[in-house]
Symmetry: C2
């Protein structure tokens, strides 16, 4: 049970009093998952917003043809949840699965509302986190329409070099919205170029 990384992360952005820290600590829970386990399954209600202490998760959607589409990866110091399900407490559209052994700090929807009320600084901080995530999400939509698969891959590699290393290529292909075969082709093409 190591929740220190969450405090370090929050301290980088807001200053909490020691009472506030104690209150925060009382509202979070720690949990370990093994590689392959699910944090959320499509159809369940996403009860928690989770902060990744160590490990990595993938959030994906299974379409009507049974195909997996990865929405995001979450590594250390990132948040993960099916946000739509979490905020409305209705069944999730996405699966969140650990692709490594993963340690999470989890906050329930009721507890996070309490935290927001008691510690407005935290609500401000989370609002900003979400604003940034929304701006990033809009840019990703633009990239999906205006860039070729190859350029999207080069962008991904440039932006998340660490993540590229630790994740199987076929998952990166899914995240980029292409097949693993085509990503393989793109990579050999890139190698030929240099």
């Amino acid at each position: 049970m190591n929740i220190q990384p969450l405090f370090d992360y929050i301290r980088n952005h807001v200053t909490l009093t020691s009472e506030e820290e104690t209150f925060l600590a009382s509202k979070v829970s720690y949990r370990k998952y093994l590689k392959g386990q699910f944090v959320v399954q499509q159809g369940d209600v996403c009860k928690y917003e989770s902060f990744v202490i160590s490990g990595c998760t993938k959030t994906y959607y299974v379409d009507t043809e049974g195909q997996e589409h990865i929405v995001m990866f979450s590594v250390e110091e990132w948040w993960t949840a099916d946000l739509g399900s979490f905020i409305t407490q209705t069944p999730a559209d996405y699966n969140i699965q650990c692709i490594e052994n993963t340690e999470l700090i989890m906050i329930s929807s009721d507890d996070i509302e309490e935290l927001y009320i008691k510690i407005p600084k935290l609500e401000r901080f989370f609002r900003r986190v979400i604003e940034r995530a929304l701006a990033a999400s809009q840019k990703r939509i633009i990239r999906s329409f205006s860039m070729s698969a190859k350029d999207r891959f080069l962008y991904f590699r440039e932006k998340y070099p660490q993540i590229e290393q630790r994740i199987p290529q076929y998952m990166i292909a899914s995240y980029l919205g292409i097949t693993k075969e085509f990503l393989s082709k793109i990579k050999s093409q890139i190698i030929l170029e240099q």
Copy 2:
């Protein structure tokens, strides 16, 4: 100068005291734009978050090949801004242009921070607005990868029937990430089917 619709909109979600309403009124400004005018231009800093009273705007990105990609339309009771530019006060990636004569209520970044501090209920409300927008944006990414152009169009038509009516088809094509010629083909195909 008619800011009443903003109050009506906010009243549907949070209850403000009359002092709070007065303070809010002192922090917003009203502005009329003609069809074709720009609220924000790529490269400028997006100074305001705008609430649409009447009319319609398109938010679009011009890529390196000079092609327009529409990110969103904003009609009555919607907010519009280049969020990335607004929150960091750095140059905008997007253009926001009025495609009808448009009335906006605009709030500057400093003023909205003041509002959040003085009226925490408003911060809570906006956090929720943004959370919902982020969940919707993630779903749009999934749709762009898992649905055909035709299905994306049918989804758009189903979800925003009013918007489909008032916007030229070539802009809808741009929003859907396809050419106007292909949307035309899709529409004639749909007509043949029924």
